[in-house]
Symmetry: D2
Subunit: 335 residues, 4 copies
């Protein structure tokens, strides 16, 4: 039985991780930590846990954590994460980190989009935890950087085309819409119900931090630098990300060829479903699946993907990574 | 042309009042004030005003206000309101006040549900601005207390039965559901989209401040003390209040008798529509109408009403009161 | 391993039952049937099943069903159900029926609200499957009438007060709001998104078929006839029922007394949670829990309950009943 | 006073047109027609009209229409429209047609995306009613083809760049999200609340009929053939279209240059607002405004536009066209 600590248990990815682990036959939550004002009974923090998890959220005690946990899911925001992760690793605990701090390998890029990096040493050894594309690197890692929500859906949508060199590596458009849970649990004017309801809008125009992360994953898959334009939008629903990608084939391809390529590429992947008509986010809500529909329109490769941003885009993928780290069946607890 | 100042223009009832006044042929907004951090161009505060109102929101300057306005719509919260209203009245400006400060005539009741009252003098002269029930008192008033959103819908639903003494004046249930705009513009955990969406819940159990206000209006209509239980709930929509009321007839009545009573009672009211099937909040969204469906079920009088909480439940009713104060047709700007 | 057939697998309660059974360690779906135009791959009917259930929905073949299934979940509408159930029972298959056909014991009442009853023989032996109130009758039954969604939430909310004779057995108000999935899968004008969204409205005024069902359950619990007024409303969300109940204590009680009564009454029930503040439907969405908050307001007993209408109000409760029928832990597959 | 007939008054664009005309000081609705099963009191068809319009919807009587109306708003679907329009024109009534039948000038393109055209004669004389781009052609026309909802937002977003030859005329991406009212009033599985709520999905991949319409308008503005890829999606809200467009500048431009270009281009347009940050559909809901935010990201021109699909994308634009046809101020009734 794998013993799991959740650091930053007071946020949405924390509770999603708890819910998955409650159904996981080979893992159990042994420790929950959060900020002092979030230290309370887990069911007082999240009403949906009432009767299912009788555990207090406590202030972090590193010694205690090291004694009771084999792995920590670190659900902290960037910058905060890189202050804790070295200590966790030093205490011999494996870490799956939800922040951006260990995702971007190029420190200069990280520091351009985020801020000064304070743990370059561990950054060098971190692996990017998108199993479908980088599974072999994850096995045996001590520190997994769990991918961002948008990068998960976008990278899976583009990977087959890039791996096979079928599209140009510049001029790619990724136009995505996320549900509001992607914005986190803190109330704000933008996500206040009377503003967000009956609304949809673009944000982060030209500056969203997931743009370089998608480019990094795409470049790794392509084997050469990929340059793309990522534009996020937020819509009036709780969960899910729809990514619509548009790219230019190097030479003409048909919809049938592209469909076959995707079916072959993902044929052994338990969590990627190549579907034969446009996908809908509701079909993957509360699941770890990514549904992808690839086609060709007027000569362009047009590929849509949908995921649940909190599951495949965060907590589900983290458990998937945990299963890999501990040599469990990758789908355990996730179906 | 009536010149209107809006005090507290940064909230939802402020912008609703502006929108109505932009369509009003005999009134115009001449002055907008708000808290310092809300002082900006009106269209920067509310995107929907762009191109329609080129006016700054300014810090309150009482002298200026008195020069440019005949009437002030005071869209401030309780307690704040009673600090400003005496000054406005002193400057010779009529006031339509949106807060609860001048609604409850019994100071002891006010102070039980709210806090110490600091302007009892003006309270004594304020009139309760529910035109369909208290129109004659409104004409000629200097200070109108604009009713609360729930009390508007609930009082109109119950008034015909109470006026005619057809129901018992105790044991009445008013079970209401409001849209989220009723909670105002400040972000909070309860109204954060990912919490409020796909949700509905009761609140204010036994302690909601609109309970004594409904009782006061109901008692005035009945001519004797009315005691009722008011239970509010909030649901995942922007606008509207549905009130479902349940009461006990003194002697048996039929659905047809009750329907006839309501049609007669409201036959000259431009904003009350007695409808022949259960109403829906969407039918009155963005209007000043109240739709009411009265019937009898298993011997109980069951009456439903729907209003737009921001229009008939706030800004529309304020303009209706303004029209009465200035001898304009009551429906002007509201149809 | 219990083998389960689902009859009427093309509706919402069918797919919910499938989803639960996919997680059930001691039961498996062995047969899916539906109307001819719904006979297709399960994942084509419900996108969320893709990759999780590789099974066709087939036309009903009673002989086949009897060979492959120990129990049938009969997710058919009323009238249709009572045409099939006798055959299923005759083939030696246990039946958990989702329709109203076997819920109402008084044929005259059934026929007043529904239509002529064509299977009075089995009706006489059917048990009403609300385990928290009638568990002992369920064990060993061949035919379980799975309760309606509203009656489940309402009966659990009122039962402790009625069992202990604390409230009057007439004049009870049950005012409920359901999510739209309660209206089923067939498109209609009332549930068309642009009508239902941003809307809430009462329906079934005085005639809703769940009124006599709630009365029957309440009367059984009270040990004498209970007469109540049930009023349903529908709001703009997918899942959940909030029931707000108002009743008159026989003698004065305090909120604390009522709370203690409820905690005692349900202290051994795994799926009923007596909570200390008003509940929200989102807290029980996708779970088999019923959360109840009992209190006293102005002398009235006011009790709120929330359930997921498709889980505790339908498919979850059916699996709970199945677990009882087959001597499995009652919570299996449901936590 | 312009007398207006509405043909096909039973749909969403019909009632929107009625609502606008009720506020129009120089026009009045004189005749409403619809299919026989929609012939009822207007307020029975649309609850929000109760008390505001006391008029029956009648079967079409061409002689009567010609007597009581100066202009007909023809809110019929394609194919049906071209069967009626010749008769209306023959009766001397001006026509503003909401269908696609008179929008596509190239009959071969129309017939590829729609069906055989049966009124080529009037098609030849119809003008495309997008006032901001084709105002001079609208004046004096007898038949105005009111633009589609997506083409309105997309064309206004792209026009300044195309008119000035700043972007390449191929490879343009238009990725749009519409609210559900765009799908019309007929219930269907795709727009059933429990399916559409909490959902977003692409549709019409490669085949949407608005693609050639946008290309036609864009080509007219550019003065040469424009080839673009239009991808629509539908999201869980009532009203609004957000269009995100991505195109390649011919030579490098800055965000500031593009912003200035747009401000100049639309500086005299009352209904186009070039805004300085990303727009939100809620800001234009229930208005005739189009808000546009143009910028440059990684060398690409990125332009967002938002409209209300039923107002600027249909009924508002029709009234705007009507005002032009009858030499009224273009904004009358629309502000």
């Amino acid at each position: 039985m794998i013993r799991v600590a959740i650091i930053g248990a007071g946020g949405y990815t924390g509770v999603e991780s708890i819910e998955i682990l409650l159904r996981h036959p080979q893992a159990k939550v042994t420790y929950l930590t959060a900020l002092p004002d979030e230290c309370m009974h887990a069911a007082d923090m999240f009403g949906q846990l009432r009767g299912r998890l009788d555990m207090m959220i406590e202030p972090l005690d590193l010694d205690k954590l090291a004694k009771v946990a084999d792995v920590a899911l670190c659900c902290l925001p960037h910058k905060v994460s890189m202050a804790f992760v070295p200590k966790l690793l030093g205490a011999g605990v494996k870490v799956i980190d939800f922040s951006a701090d260990y995702r971007i390998k190029d420190v200069a890029v990280y520091e351009k989009y985020y801020e000064p990096h304070t743990d370059k040493e561990n950054l060098a050894h971190a692996v990017y935890g998108l199993p479908e594309l980088f599974r072999s690197q994850i096995r045996g890692a001590a520190l997994v950087a769990n991918p961002g929500c948008y990068p998960t859906g976008a990278s899976l949508a583009l990977a087959p085309l890039l791996r096979h060199g079928l599209i140009k590596t510049s001029g790619i458009i990724v136009s995505s819409v996320t549900g509001v849970s992607g914005g986190g649990k803190n109330p704000s004017a933008n996500f206040h119900f009377p503003y967000m309801n009956e609304n949809i809008y673009p944000y982060g125009v030209g500056v969203h931090r997931h743009m370089p992360e998608i480019e990094q994953a795409a470049s790794a898959v392509a084997g050469k630098p990929v340059e793309l334009l990522f534009q996020p939008h937020v819509g009036p629903f709780d969960r899910g990300i729809l990514s619509s990608t548009y790219s230019d084939p190097v030479t003409a391809v048909t919809a049938e060829q592209v469909m076959k390529l995707y079916r072959d590429f993902y044929k052994d992947e338990p969590f990627v479903q190549v579907v034969s008509k446009p996908p809908a986010v509701k079909h993957v809500a509360k699941t770890n699946y990514c549904q992808i529909f690839p086609t060709v329109v007027k000569g362009k490769a047009v590929v849509f993907s949908v995921i649940d941003n909190l599951i495949k885009g965060a907590s589900g993928q983290a458990i998937q990574n945990m299963n890999i780290l501990f040599d469990l069946p990758e789908t355990m607890g996730l179906e």
